[in-house]
């Protein structure tokens, strides 16, 4: 094992180089960026970050993104938990086909659906709200959550359910008090994936919002084009979009290693 340790190390270095460059660019002045090449910032400046934190259009972008991502994670898990339970415990008409159909929804190119989504959410009066983006992201997050949770639930022996009924638990009580704690790791992993795919998706989020729910990534695109060539600002905003993700991974790091091992994946 020891002599192969260099493989992951080299891979991680490869992953870090572009991120390092993004951070370096965010700490340089525009003049320095356009003036020439240097590996480290010569005149360290936090101006780009200062601009972002003092301009409401910028920082509201972050608040908007985090709001709809959280909402989406909650909705996806709430809907996926009972469904995953049904798939793992019961056989019913069409269950296998249903499962594959759910997965197929990940295959539709978001590009294809952008315009119809805009019309649909405008028609039901949800356009430019957090709920619109949160619901739209359910399209790919629910199938994934059902699939992950089903794996975890199937690894919990059925005797647990039966013992609980014998002890006089009602189904909802059993589900919340006994079953959920025993698949905690699975819920963590599913939540992580929901957060991840909702956070990184931009096409639908951008299509479904205009002002009040505009995601940070969309604010970036607009700024990049309207303000010309402000690479430092763009880089700083990019760095800030990495941070929430990094925090989330840090919290679920143990679940991911242990959690995957427990679930059937």
């Amino acid at each position: 094992m020891k002599r192969r340790a260099w493989i992951p190390i080299i891979y991680i270095l490869f992953l870090m180089v572009p991120i390092y460059w993004l951070v370096v660019m965010s700490l340089k002045t525009t003049n320095e960026i356009l003036g020439g090449f240097s590996l480290f910032p010569q005149e360290l400046t936090f101006d780009s970050y200062r601009i972002i934190f003092s301009d409401p259009t910028w920082y509201w972008g972050y608040i908007n993104s985090i709001s709809y991502v959280t909402l989406n994670t909650v909705i996806s898990l709430a809907a996926a938990l009972p469904a995953a339970y049904a798939f793992s415990r019961y056989r019913f008409m069409g269950d296998k086909h249903l499962f594959f159909w759910l997965l197929t929804n990940r295959m539709a190119p978001a590009v294809v659906f952008a315009l119809p989504f805009f019309q649909l959410y405008s028609a039901v009066g949800l356009f430019d709200t957090y709920l619109a983006v949160a619901l739209a992201h359910c399209l790919f997050n629910i199938p994934l959550s059902v699939w992950i949770l089903e794996g975890f639930m199937s690894s919990v022996p059925k005797e647990l359910d039966e013992t609980a009924y014998v002890d006089g638990y009602s189904f909802p009580m059993f589900f919340v008090k006994i079953f959920l704690p025993s698949i905690k790791a699975g819920v963590g992993v599913a939540a992580f994936f929901c957060f991840m795919f909702s956070w990184v998706e931009l096409l639908l989020a951008k299509t479904l919002t205009a002002i009040y729910a505009k995601p940070i990534a969309a604010v970036m695109t607009r700024t990049a084009s309207s303000a010309g060539y402000e690479l430092g600002l763009l880089a700083a905003a990019g760095v800030l979009t990495i941070i929430p993700g990094a925090i989330v991974i840090y919290f679920v790091r143990n679940y991911i290693a242990r959690g995957f091992a427990m679930g059937r994946v």
Partner: protein, 286 residues
Amino acid sequence: MKTENQKAWLFVLPVLALVAFNALIPLMTVVNYSVQETFGNNLFFWQGLDWFENILRSDRFHAALGRQVMFTAIILAIEIPLGVMIALAMPRSGPWVSVCLVLMALPLLIPWNVVGAMWNIFTLPDIGLLGYFMNNVLGVDYNMTQSPTAAWVTIIVMDVWHWTSLVVLLAYAGLISIPEPYYQAAKIDGASNWSVFRYIQLPKMKRVLTIAILLRFMDSFNIYTEVFVLTGGGPGNSTTLLSIDLVKVALGQFDLGNAAAMSLVYFAFTLLVSWLFYTIMMRDEE
């Protein structure tokens, strides 16, 4: 053993409702557009299957589809073996595992347009680290905006950078689920590294690898944002993948019928390949 229970449908109902709302209604809208012609003003005329005939004969569609297939084939051929190799080289337990996983998962959590913007900054000829290094240190003429080869290499390296970690995470999850006694037994039998891989690790990873390949296929076949931000489909049409071409037709030319028919052919193609692959891989399960 699972019990037969039709009431389980009630548990699935919320999921069905949410996914159907998001999937069926937009899909029907697209189908509706695909058989009509419009000249604006919300006036639509019945067109039948003309759009589909057009597309299936169009060289432009074939070229874009060809580029999309080539892109997906290349990145699958790189990312799957690379991901498995890295997962095999990772320690099975210990303090470094968490650190590795956190660092590796980082690219997965960056918004897709930021990934594109970041690689753009990284590869700019005189300002970017990679661009500067290639041109001024190695002396290779590297300019993404002029050379199709450079553009292709860049989008592939970007995708490998972005997504290999997903394969690593899934493969690693499959690997650590193998109980230690399997390895001890293999050691006693004097099995080589290759036979351990071929007869213990690979079969145990089959399920996760199926999922990894399926996810990577679907996502790379539908890739849009990253490539669009990085190259805009250029230089010329060299990196205009099917998704990028589709947006050009739908929003650039506002050719709704054509774009909708294109979308459906695109979707059907993805569905067919995924279904074939899923069926073949799952054939001998259960």
